[in-house]
């Protein structure tokens, strides 16, 4: 599907062996480092233009840390994030300003994403104001444009966040991400805090926006059905690593990795007669502190073999566009 594009042209985002480790310290007076939280443990992926990559996994898998690394809210311990071939963490000055106009974000909680003391139009225009020289009228014009794009009335600009509902606030958050005409928006669970019927509104909006302008999304989510609706490609993360990565249709048609299968089994379909594939995992979602060597998933894997505890599996291509990291293959 997208192979031709990625070979011929440098993708918008390229992540190479990205890792983020947080030290675990003990001791009151002198902090000793007793371990490492390997939140992200060597992942690689690309995001093309006008493409959506879904990143799924449960708590502790590292998807949120990954999104923060892309947004420069964290510094990587190893690896690189490249935007059009440039290392984003090495940017300074005018290049950095430019970066902020090209990469934006929408977070999960609509109730804490907006500064309650600022009028909506101030929040929306912030990226513009901070990174580019805009006149007052230019600013207001752009605010109106994006309010229109997200389906909010123009009068919303003069109001304060507390006057809006959760769904409307997420639209405002989206508008503020769109204001500087970004090429990539990182969406971290954009609809999970919203009511079911409102989710559909926002998801349709995201799809429409992508169809009309050169916009890519990194969609971090735990709800597989939501991801399926918007993402062109999907990567499944577990304990800091990508265990499977494929074109969305390919992944959903034929999940390969045991964890992916468990996730699919846990995504309860809204159909009482759907066949029950009760792959119930034993144990807890483990902590990413000093995980065991070998495959990170083996303690809970129903198909674990002897070598899984010793050797970490490599990412192998099983079919075009579909890679998986598992000794079963």
């Amino acid at each position: 599907m997208l192979e031709d594009r990625t070979i011929a042209v440098e993708p918008l985002i390229r992540v190479e062996n990205l890792a983020k480790h947080f030290p675990v310290t003990r001791g009151v007076l002198i902090g000793r480092t007793t371990g490492q939280v390997k939140a992200v443990d060597g992942i690689s992926f690309t995001i093309g233009r006008q493409e959506t990559l879904g990143l799924v996994g449960e708590s502790g898998c590292g998807k949120t840390t990954t999104s923060r690394l892309l947004l420069r809210l964290e510094q990587p311990t190893a690896g690189r994030v490249l935007l059009d071939g440039q290392d984003v963490h090495a940017l300074r000055g005018a290049d950095l300003s430019r970066y902020h106009t090209r990469v934006q974000a929408v977070f999960q909680d609509p109730w804490s994403s907006l500064n309650p003391r600022l009028r909506v139009r101030e929040t929306i225009a912030e990226a513009l104001v901070v990174n580019r020289r805009v006149t007052r009228s230019g600013k207001l014009e752009r605010v109106e444009e994006v309010l229109h794009q997200v389906g909010l009335p123009l009068s919303a600009g003069a109001r304060y966040p507390h006057e809006f509902s959760g769904g409307q606030r997420q639209r405002i958050a989206l508008a503020s991400a769109l204001a500087a005409k970004p090429e990539l928006i990182v969406l971290d669970e954009p609809v999970s805090a919203l009511d079911v019927s409102i989710r559909a509104q926002i998801m349709n909006l995201l799809k429409d926006l992508q169809a009309r302008q050169p916009l890519s999304f990194l969609l971090v989510a735990h709800n597989l059905a939501t991801v399926r609706y918007i993402a062109h490609r999907t990567a499944v993360m577990y304990l800091g690593r990508i265990v499977e990565h494929a074109d969305t249709e390919s992944l959903y048609r034929r999940p390969l990795h045991p964890y992916t299968k468990a996730l699919f089994a846990a995504a309860l379909p809204a159909d009482p007669d759907a066949p029950r594939d009760d792959m119930i995992l034993s144990g807890e979602v483990p902590s990413p502190i000093d995980p065991s060597p070998g495959c990170h998933f083996h303690p809970r894997c129903p198909f674990a073999m002897e070598q899984c505890a010793r050797v970490a599996p490599e990412l192998k291509t099983i079919e075009p566009g579909h890679v998986v990291s598992c000794h079963l293959y």
């Binding site: 809210l73 389906g151 509902s165």
Partner: protein, 303 residues
């Protein structure tokens, strides 16, 4: 098309209703205001500003034949000196009115300076964190362990008595309290998503502190300011009482209380009148501060 509508969250409704029930008030927002406090504070400000115009006598004018006159409603009092005279024949009422100026000026200066410093330190410490935070907070801790009056006395003795000294002494005493509370608020605000999003927008740390942090801690800060007015007035009065405050002949309420000590049995009004004034004003500001906090709170919750 989405409508901008006032939606009521059922949980919020329950929470504010519980709050309303805990503070039962007659119907109508109008009656809920702390009128008593408003009046007293308004009178205080008016009196301080207009003292030269309303005072019947000069506060320093001595009149020995008229010394130790009781207040007008007592036997022996006179309407020329409504609240009596002190041991040097000076009119108590006039001294009271001029004394209000001292209290207010000291309070205003000390609060602005101390509050300002405390706000700045709290914001920087809370937002930047790390070593800056550790260092600043150790300084705060050290300041807070000083015995209040002792420090003020030491400063007064080394710098010489006067308005400036008292203002400095009080500033040094209160900035740390503000810094600590503000830092706590900043830590809470810092975790909210809009701060991270401001960084994603490309805002500098300075802009984030000014535009995103400060406005969201201002409510707490204002309440803290109001609640400290009483404290500051009492410190000033105590210092003046101990002789380390405003030097005579400028009247200061604390000084007046101190001067009247030796005559407490015979000329009670010398200490009681200024003492009552202090008490009333401090009470008014405390009630005002309480009301302000309650008034701002549900609005905060709605946001």
């Amino acid at each position: 098309m989405a409508r901008v509508e006032d939606r009521i969250d059922v949980e919020l409704a329950a929470a504010t209703a519980a709050d309303d029930a805990a503070h039962p008030r007659p119907r109508g927002d109008f009656a809920r205001l702390p009128w008593g406090s408003f009046v007293i504070i308004a009178v205080l400000i008016l009196v301080a500003v207009l003292a030269p115009l309303i005072a019947p006598h000069s506060p320093t004018e001595q009149s020995l034949p008229d010394k130790l006159l009781p207040p007008a409603w007592e036997a022996g009092g006179s309407t020329r000196h409504l609240l009596g005279t002190d041991v040097l024949g000076r009119d108590v009422l006039s001294r009271l009115l001029y004394g209000a100026r001292v209290s207010l000026i000291v309070a205003a200066v000390a609060l602005l300076a101390g509050g300002g410093i405390g706000l700045a330190v709290g914001i920087v410490s809370g937002y930047l964190g790390g070593r800056t935070d550790s260092f600043l907070m150790r300084t705060v801790d050290a300041t807070l362990t000083f015995p209040t009056i002792l420090i003020a006395l030491l400063l007064a003795v080394s710098l010489g008595p006067g308005l400036k000294t008292i203002a400095i002494a009080i500033t040094v005493l209160i900035w740390a309290r503000f810094a600590r509370v503000v830092r706590g608020e900043v830590l809470a605000v810092k975790t909210r998503d809009f701060v991270a999003l401001a960084r994603v927008h490309g805002c500098s740390h300075l802009r984030i502190m000014a535009v995103h942090i400060v406005p969201n801690v201002l409510n707490t800060f204002m309440v803290l300011l109001t609640l400290h007015i009483g404290f500051v007035i009492i410190i000033e009065a105590s210092l003046s009482f101990l002789g380390a405050g405003i030097p005579p002949p400028t009247p200061s309420w604390g000084q007046m209380v101190s001067d009247g000590r030796s005559h407490i049995a015979s000329a009670w009004w010398l200490s009681v009148v200024p003492g009552a004034a202090i008490m009333l004003v401090v009470l008014a500001f405390n009630l005002f501060g309480d009301w302000l906090r309650d008034w701002l709170d549900p609005r905060l919750r709605q946001v």
